[in-house]
Structures are given as C-alpha cells and as structure tokens.
Subunit: 228 residues, 2 copies
DNA sequence: ATGTGTTAGTGTATATATTACACTATGCCA
DNA sequence: TGGCATAGTGTAATATATACACTAACACAT
C-alpha cells in the first residue's frame, strides 16, 4: 500500500530530549542507532508522526516505545527544519524535552531491542543527525526555564529535602547557591508543603517537602511570578 | 505527477503572525480567505512547506507571496499539530511571528489577489482554523519576550524618540509606565545611541535615538540581561 | 557514654534595585 | 508674547538580593 500526493512532502518526526538527575549530575537518555545512517552512533529517541495522532501524542508514544518511559513531564521545544538534517530524505522534526524522576536502569529496560543509556550532559558522545544542536537547545531551555517556572520538581521524587532541591538547582544552573538565601526564596514561593516526615540519612535527618501543585495553579492564575 | 510514500504523511505548513504598531495600537496582519474551508473568514498568512526549502525559508516566502513583506524580524513560535486542525486533511503547522516597522497600506499591496488588512489585537474578527489559538500564543510570546529582549525596536522606525519607545512598550504590555523610570532603565542598558537629530513635531522637538545592534550583540556575548 | 564527623537548620546587616513622584525647558502657533 | 503641549530631569522611600557563620541533631566509632 502506498499514499500519493500532488507535491512531495517532508517527512515529519518527533524527537525527545529526556533529562534526568543522578548523584548531582544532569543526564540525558540516548539511544544507540542500530541502522544506517549513523549506525552505532547515539541519538535522541524519536520517530515518525502518524497521520492520525497529534504531535504531542506522537512524542509520548515514541518515548514509550523507545525507552519505556510514560507519565513524564513533556514540553514542546522547537521545530528543526533545515533541508539536509537527514541524509536520506527531507525530514522536519518537532523536538520535545522530557523530565523524569527516577534515573534507574530498570526503567529504560522496556525498550524494544534498542539500547538506551544515560549520559551526563557534560560528557556526551557524538550524536547522529543534528541531535547535538537539538540537545543544546533543550539544555538552554531547561536552564532558562528553571529560573522562572517550578519545573525542577519534575526531576525529583515527590518527597524531597530542601538540600536535594538546592543541589538540583545547582546542577541545572551550573553554579553554587547560598543555602540560607535559597531556602528563604524557595519557601517564600509557598509552593512547598512541609511534611511531618524526615529523610533518614547517615546524619541529622532532614524534613521532607512536596511540591504543592494545586497551590501552584492557583497562584499562576493570580499572575504570581516564581523567579528563583 | 504524484509522489507516493509507504505511510500517509501529514501535510506541513508554516503560518506567520505579523505584528505592527500604529497610533499606539498593536496590530496583526490578516488575509481574507478566498476559498473553502472558512471562505471569507480572516486567517494568518501561511502555506505549504516545499520539500527543498527550510521551514524558515518557507515562512519568509509565504510572507512575501501573501503580503509583500520582506526583511522582517521573524522568529519561530510553536508547532501546532492537533489532528483536526484542518477539516480537509491532516496538517501540521509550524507557526512564526514577525515584527514589521511600517504599518502602511502600500506595503501589503504587493499581495497577489489576496486581501490583506491590519486589525488591532483587541478587535479581531473571527479567524479560520485554529488561528485564534496561534495568534494568542504569539501575543503571549511577544508580551513575555519584550520584557527581557530588545525586540521592540523591530516595530519602530530606525530613528525614534524615547516617548515613541515608551508608548510602544505601553502598547505591548498593556499598562502605563512612569516616564522617568522608563528612561533611566532603557538608557542604562546602553543599547540606545543618541543622535544629533531631533524629531520635528507640533511642540518641543525630541531627541532621536537608534538601537545599537552591535553593542547589543557584544553585551549578549557577555551574558548581560536586558529586563525592562 | 562520650566524642567526632557530617549534614540540617536558622537571622541579620549591607548593598542594590525598584518605585513613586513634580517641576522646568523648549518650541510651535495663535 | 503668551499659552499650550510635549521633552526632559533627580531624589527619597521602599523592596529585594546578597553576603556571611554558627548551633542542632543524628550516626557511628571508641
């Protein structure tokens, strides 16, 4: 079966830069390509948009198929439409980025056949197609966005300590933050709900908090800002 | 002649929200549709992406063909990919927005056959397809972006007075700004070059300034912020 | 049980940025 | 030459951001 059109059409794909955090490092999930072109190189997970699904759905479906990840924070990033992005034929790609909570190997094991692996963003292998550019665009967006929108929480477990949160911000922004100032600011947003639970650790145990999503939505409606 | 593919492909279009300013109002340029669907309704200029042109080139080409505008500030906005955006067939559209300096009727006269007209953003007619959503997305982006990036200059003549610039910000942001504070802030950016020319008016003539693009690029490299 | 090491948790003083606010200057025109 | 409309200017009050160091609690080793 084949489908014909009066004029040639670019193929349409979605690609998804998946971010995670582990031991204070910011990671991206990459897929090893099993086929030419760029066989053996690493690439961002992605694939063709079906004609009967929205592009957002396509991004989620490809993510699930290639990495087993579901229920992640997903946001459209940018559309890459240079003529020679793909050596085979004209392909336009709508890029997304995803934030995932648990960076563990089991989670990406559901992958069908494809190898998936986490890489620290500062130790990336060379990437297929224009995926280096896509990844850098995603990284820039994440760094910019984390300053004025509380998306960082999507990278942490639902219950977390303030130190974990601060380390996350330091990891993403790439610089140290003063502990007292950070706590003042982050608590002033009123987006954190202190719990009566404490993290058990090798030392003094820290209070756990959770992100108060309903409070966030309420404050967004009031036009409140959340710059950190 | 026809082109066939193993799987059906969404059609790919670009649409372009064109902003201008006139007499203290923010305007958008719309095209009256001559054909079904939505015949007679107003729409954002746009059209199909050719297989041998980049999506940015496609946006510029369609803008030129439908409105005669060239050499405008153009930036990708968002990609709209819901399944039923277009009642005829699956169409994914990469939306752009453009900022133009002179809002005059001659400029859009080059249009081939299509009627083009400027509408104030607060008095829009009903629009074809999902163009209302695209337009509101563009408006939100413009309002957000003007606060931290000096794109407002793209809507003014190359030489302008501080009062013109202030009115532009007031128009886009939708609220009044204190004159002295505005001047302090905008001059502190060092992005404005005072000229030895003065605008002739009915009253005291005002000094003209121009946007110093090279200075801007220098400061961007240094990571300077330009919040207003 | 006591000491040591490690992380949690807290407040204040200073510097910087933002806001609020009103008058004089200049040029056109009647 | 007087009136009117717009251009242009500074300062004080308030709010926000930054810099900075010690005590508290717990685990573990002795």
């Amino acid at each position: 079966m084949s489908f014909s059109y009066r004029y040639p059409r670019p193929a349409l794909t979605v690609d998804c830069v998946v971010f995670g955090v582990h031991e204070g490092r910011l990671l991206v999930l990459l897929i090893r390509r099993g086929q030419a072109p760029f066989r053996g190189d690493w690439a961002i997970p992605g694939g063709f948009v079906d004609v009967q699904e929205s592009i957002d759905d396509a991004a989620r479906r490809e993510l699930q198929e290639e990495t087993g990840l579901t229920n992640v924070y997903l946001e459209q990033l940018y559309t890459f439409g240079a003529v020679n992005r793909d050596p085979r034929e004209r392909v336009v790609s709508v890029a997304y980025y995803a934030l995932v909570r648990r960076v563990e190997h089991q989670e990406v094991a559901a992958s069908d056949a494809a190898q998936a692996e986490w890489f620290p963003v500062d130790e990336l292998p060379s990437l297929a197609f224009d995926h280096e550019e896509i990844l850098q665009t995603a990284l820039a967006r994440l760094r910019a966005k984390v300053r004025y929108q509380p998306i960082g929480f999507e990278l942490l477990p639902t219950k977390f300590t303030l130190t974990q949160l601060q380390q996350l911000y330091e990891t993403i922004l790439g610089h140290e933050i003063d502990k007292r100032n950070f706590r003042k600011k982050i608590l002033a947003t009123r987006l954190l709900k202190p719990l009566e639970e404490f993290a058990s650790g090798r030392h003094r145990s820290a209070r756990l908090y959770r992100f108060d999503r309903s409070q966030y939505q309420k404050l967004v409606k009031q036009g409140v800002n959340f710059e950190i």
